[in-house]
Symmetry: C2
Subunit: 118 residues, 2 copies
């Protein structure tokens, strides 16, 4: 059991203030590592871990051009959170059937997470 859901990673990634700040900045457009790291009084390797985490969970993508790595926000990955919220709210409303739309339309991980409980 304990199947890993995409949600695990997404929520964990978003639980850190540094990473949320990065996501916020990337919401305005792509940026390089150095540019993103500048506002934080943090060693670059430390900052890179955050970037690596965000990329691993699919919240951002990166591409290296020359010696500069550019990060781009992946807006679609936020849908997992939205879906989860909708699911939860659907349960509160007492109509689980309704959210089948969201869940089945989402990625396999979300489905897995759903059937973990029942």
């Amino acid at each position: 059991m304990a199947q890993y859901s995409r949600l695990d990673g997404v929520f964990a990634a978003v639980s850190d203030p540094t990473r949320r700040a990065v996501l916020r900045r990337l919401g305005t457009g792509p940026a390089s590592i150095g540019e993103l790291a500048a506002p934080f009084g943090m060693a670059l390797p430390s900052f890179m871990k955050h970037i690596g985490y965000l990329e691993k969970t699919g919240l951002i993508t990166t591409r290296k051009t020359g010696r500069v790595r550019v990060c781009t926000l992946e807006r679609a990955s936020f849908d997992a959170i939205e879906s989860w919220l909708s699911e939860q709210r659907g349960i509160w409303a007492g109509r689980t059937d309704r959210l089948e739309q969201f869940v089945t339309a989402a990625d396999p991980d979300t489905r897995l997470d759903t059937e973990t409980l029942s």
Copy 2:
């Protein structure tokens, strides 16, 4: 500042599949610790840690009656997630001013210049 910490905790709490399952179950109504723990092949003290975490972050409240502790979902605490999503989407849309209502104590990174997109 320091209004983050709530989001930190909420997202961290929600990043665990066991805890999400608990939240889902509690969405249908209050339940005792034992009742909640039953579906998981987990020692009770381990499970209690999850409950403690959920309570600490305000996602649930608990009350002990006799020897049974009953847990209740605190729906309002989900608003923090909703607000954060709204903020993020607001940034994508290029209008930060609008979401000032939600995020009052945001940090300096929230500001951005209106350029691309409407």
